[in-house]
């Protein structure tokens, strides 16, 4: 199979790569571009550890082909902080001990950011349902929900 050239934008920077026709966006990010922040927990879209946004839409990058990134805007965990400045979600995840092993954390942060862009003032139930596609096996989700709400409150200026 002949490789496909892809021109895309990742975390605001122009980016070109070659990928196989059947190669997932996750494999392209991790294997070809060295962006290993997105994780493969299942490869079937069940765990959310590979979450990124594609043109602003939250997706499991294991269910997207690398070739689909052509002309798109991709955002990954590596682009969430502004240089040295952590995003409020990142800061509150550390302060609220919302991670233990941390393998699900990049995906959950990307997903939570997408939620707060859509709804800056979600209820706990809204957060729980939005994050239902992101599995965490360590925390029982309690501190994750609290961290998201603390970040949301800060971002609203509350």
């Amino acid at each position: 199979m002949k490789s496909i050239p892809v021109s895309t934008t990742i975390n605001g920077d122009p980016c070109e790569f070659l990928c196989a026709p059947d190669e997932t966006l996750l494999d392209a990010l991790r294997g070809r571009l060295g962006l290993t922040g997105a994780k493969e927990g299942c490869g079937t879209g069940d765990c959310g550890a590979c979450s990124v946004t594609l043109n602003g839409r939250l997706v499991c990058s294991c269910l997207v082909l690398g070739a689909e990134a052509e002309g798109a805007e991709i955002a990954t965990i590596e682009g969430m902080a502004d240089g040295d400045e952590l995003h409020p979600l990142q800061r509150h995840f550390i302060d609220h001990a919302a991670l233990q092993c941390g393998i699900c954390t990049p995906g959950i942060l990307v997903a939570a950011k997408a939620l707060l862009e859509k709804d800056p003032n979600p209820t706990d139930e809204d957060v729980r349902y939005w994050l239902a596609g992101n599995l965490c096996r360590c925390t029982g989700y309690d501190k994750i929900i609290r961290a998201v709400q603390a970040a949301a409150a800060e971002m609203r200026g509350a």
Partner: protein, 745 residues
């Protein structure tokens, strides 16, 4: 047991909620986990797995696979040595079958190729000739004489005659005369229970990168709970000296006991040795479910007698656990834990380990305890309901205390069960009103906790900072806790201490991160390494001041003269002593090496409110509170995290999670869609109450907290379902179809 370690003190830093040192790496995607490692010239390794639950491997033809362009190595069980030792042989045979495939998913061959597509194509070219054998995947069938025998010749002498050869070991614990005790009971409940096998469910699949060079040296990077044990196992399988194999633990994406052994690591090493290039293997989720450790599935009979005032007069338990296709000792832990929460005059537990054609069990958070305690706590609840007694009062009446001779032998020292039950009784949750159709359940939980082999180096840097080298992978924030304890002992700020997890060449042997041992044992070794460094720093100050070493003591992070007779010198802070260390005798470091005893047992109590949907059979968890004794909570947020995470794994076990085997012996649900772990929308907040009853075996009173939290949810949920819907299920999980069947029955 070391009972003299603890001294009461006021903590300045221990008990605060500091930021973990690996936090920024983990929220920015920089932390490197098992699958994130690469090496120059790296090949991709893939494994061929048996589709049959039980089959003799007649022949394996790898010639076509080996001839495929881009394939650099192919191995089968024949490429690994014949092992004399049963334990090592089982580990090796589980990584790569030799004569028989023993379960659906058992590895039979592996390839290393230039890329994943080539490796996958090569697997399809391997021809395995199987002779299919009868299989057995259910513990109750496997114990019967005449059942298909999974492994012959592995039955220990203590197994009574007349049972299937699948029964490999037997154990018995207890004291008193149960029959005499039952004769005094006003009511006896005898029930049988079954629990499904559940998987640890870590989100990170196993990953290993091996690089073996032609001079016999090897590097192995992998996600593991214990790099030193990985080295022990792989060195034996690869017939290497320990010093030639350096194992580095990556950041680990969850383990819960499941990453305490090896699966792909020896395979990656063997492929790398054969190919002469680095080889990386990353499991798929399907492989994780089919071929790594779930916990045991069980069948249990429990009998408890009680008088009408709630006193337990006698109890016994018969436990049959199956840890899959190889012998395991998990039933021993279940048999010991079953009645640990109670002070009983007459108690007996019996356990049998049974082989089935399922993957080899791996440890899972308090291995063996949740199942037995689920059954016991269910029967206690049934007795409480029978007599109309309050379930916490009954547990308080019979609770184990200091001085209780436990059902498994040892006499308890300071334990926190009564305090934990009292806290639960007084908590607003326990007396909150319930709506019609809602039910409240409680359960006790117990875990032994563990200490074990531990060594720590503490280096005092010349700028007054401190580096700690320890050997236990950090799964839930332990580097923060260890830095906190060092900072406390040295009297310097937490942010001046950095703790790293060393590879196997940098430190002596450390037992695996398991048994809730790390904060306890590594913490103890860290405190003692700090004391060793303090002693040396006092000696340096004494040398500078020209006084006796004994005349110097350590106070608030500085050396000071001990009393007025020692002389008048201003305090010399750690940073000042460190700055001149090259002139006073060289670098300063503290060490401690120990096989730690005195871990201090752990108890917890959970309260849960549920509502059962009579139409769908689904159980909704409405409110949940965890009470647990931490001894001393070094970092309370991460203690709460252990309590919450354990509770939710237990909720999953109680309500949804199970290994489902078809009549064909194949696992039917090897993925997160069909093996359903709890998701955020399934759950309420998990409230926590930390009790602190100091463990006499630790300088700061610390007890391990990691495991106990998974124990109570199973019975707490079952008891709540019973009180909500009027049905007593005797099998886990209480999945909607089972609940509906019980409601209809």
């Amino acid at each position: 047991m070391s009972l003299d370690e603890y001294t009461r003190r006021e903590f300045k830093q221990v008990g605060t909620r500091v930021r973990r040192p690996d936090g920024v790496d983990k929220v920015t995607g920089r932390a490197l986990y098992g699958a994130d490692a690469t090496a120059p010239g790296m090949l991709v390794g893939r494994i061929l797995r048996s589709p049959h639950p039980h089959a003799r491997i007649v022949a394996i033809d790898t010639s076509a696979a080996g001839a495929l362009k881009g394939v650099k190595a192919v191995i089968t069980g024949a490429d690994l040595p014949v092992q004399e030792d049963n334990f090592i042989r089982d580990v090796q045979d589980n990584c790569m079958a030799r004569d028989k495939a023993l379960y659906d998913g058992h590895a039979v061959a592996a390839v290393a190729a230039v890329d994943a597509a080539t490796a996958k194509a090569a697997l399809k070219l391997i021809k395995v000739t199987y002779e299919i054998l009868p299989h057995v995947t259910d513990v109750d069938i496997a114990v019967k004489p005449g059942a298909p025998v999974v492994l012959a010749g592995r039955t220990l002498e203590n197994v009574p005659a007349g049972m299937s050869e699948n029964v490999t070991s037997h154990c018995e614990f207890g004291h008193g005369d149960p029959e005499a005790g039952f004769a005094r009971a006003d009511h006896i409940v005898e029930r049988s229970f079954r629990t499904a096998a559940t998987h640890q469910g870590y989100i990170e699949p196993h990953a290993a990168l091996a690089s073996v060079t032609s001079d016999g040296k090897a590097e192995l990077w992998c996600c593991t709970q214990g790099q030193f044990f990985v080295r022990t196992l792989c060195a034996a399988i690869m017939e290497m000296e320990a010093s030639q194999l350096r194992v580095t633990a990556s950041e680990i994406g969850g383990g819960f006991g499941g990453k305490t052994t090896v699966f792909i690591e020896p395979v990656a090493l063997a492929l790398s040795r054969k190919a002469g290039r680095p080889v990386k293997i990353v499991m798929t989720r399907d492989e994780v479910f089919r071929a790594t450790g779930p916990t045991v599935h069980t069948s249990m009979d429990i009998r408890i007698g009680m008088t009408k005032d709630g006193t337990i007069t006698a109890a016994d338990a018969h436990l049959r656990y199956s840890g899959g296709a190889f012998p395991c000792g998990t039933v021993d832990m279940g048999a010991q834990a079953a009645f640990a929460a109670y002070d009983l005059e007459h108690v007996r537990t019996y356990g049998w380990n049974v082989l089935t054609n399922r993957p080899k069990e791996a440890a899972y958070r308090a291995p063996g305890a949740p199942q037995a305690i689920y059954a016991v706590e269910s029967v206690i609840d049934e007795l409480c309901q029978h007599f109309g007694l309050d379930p916490i009062e009954v547990r308080l009446k019979n609770a184990a205390r200091k001085g209780t001779k436990s059902s498994y032998g040892p006499t308890f020292s300071d334990i926190g069960l009564v305090a934990t039950l009292e806290a639960a009784k007084q908590h607003p949750h326990y007396c909150a009103p319930l709506a019609p159709g809602q039910g409240r359940g409680i359960s006790c939980g117990f875990w032994f906790n563990f200490g074990g082999n531990t060594c720590v180096s503490l280096n005092v840097n010349t700028d007054g900072t401190v580096g700690i080298t320890e050997g236990n992978p950090d799964i839930g924030g332990s580097r923060a806790s260890i830095s906190l304890m060092a900072a406390e002992e040295l009297g310097i700020p937490y942010d001046r201490v950095r703790t790293i997890v060393a590879d196997t060449s940098a430190l002596g042997y450390n037992d695996v991160t398991d048994g809730s041992r790390v904060t306890f044992a590594v913490g103890l070794a860290t405190i003692k390494a700090a004391r060793d460094a303090v002693k040396k720093m006092c000696a340096r100050a004494a040398k500078i001041w020209g006084i006796d070493e004994e005349a110097v003591e350590w106070k608030d992070g500085a050396a000071v003269p001990a009393g007025p007779n020692a002389g008048k010198f201003p305090p010399m802070a750690l940073a000042e002593i460190a700055a001149v260390s090259f002139e006073t005798g060289g670098p300063i470091a503290g060490h401690h090496e120990v096989n730690v005893d005195g871990a201090g047992v752990s108890f917890g109590v959970h309260i849960v409110d549920v509502e059962v949907d009579r139409e769908t059979g689904a159980t909704k968890v409405l409110r949940y509170t965890v009470f647990q004794d931490a001894g001393k909570a070094v970092h309370p947020s991460y203690v709460e995290g252990q309590m919450q995470g354990g509770a939710v794994q237990g909720i999953g076990w109680a309500l949804n999670e199970e290994y489902i085997y078809g009549a064909d012996g194949r696992l039917q649900n090897p993925g997160f869609l069909d093996y359903r772990v709890p998701v955020a929308s399934d759950l309420p907040a998990i409230d926590t109450v930390i009790l602190e009853i100091p463990n006499p075996g630790h300088p700061y009173g610390v007890r391990g907290v990691g495991e106990t939290g998974i124990v109570p949810p199973l019975a707490a949920l079952s008891n709540a379902v019973s009180r909500s819907a009027g049905i007593r299920l005797a099998e886990l999980p209480m999945s909607p179809p089972r609940v509906l069947a019980a409601l209809d029955g």
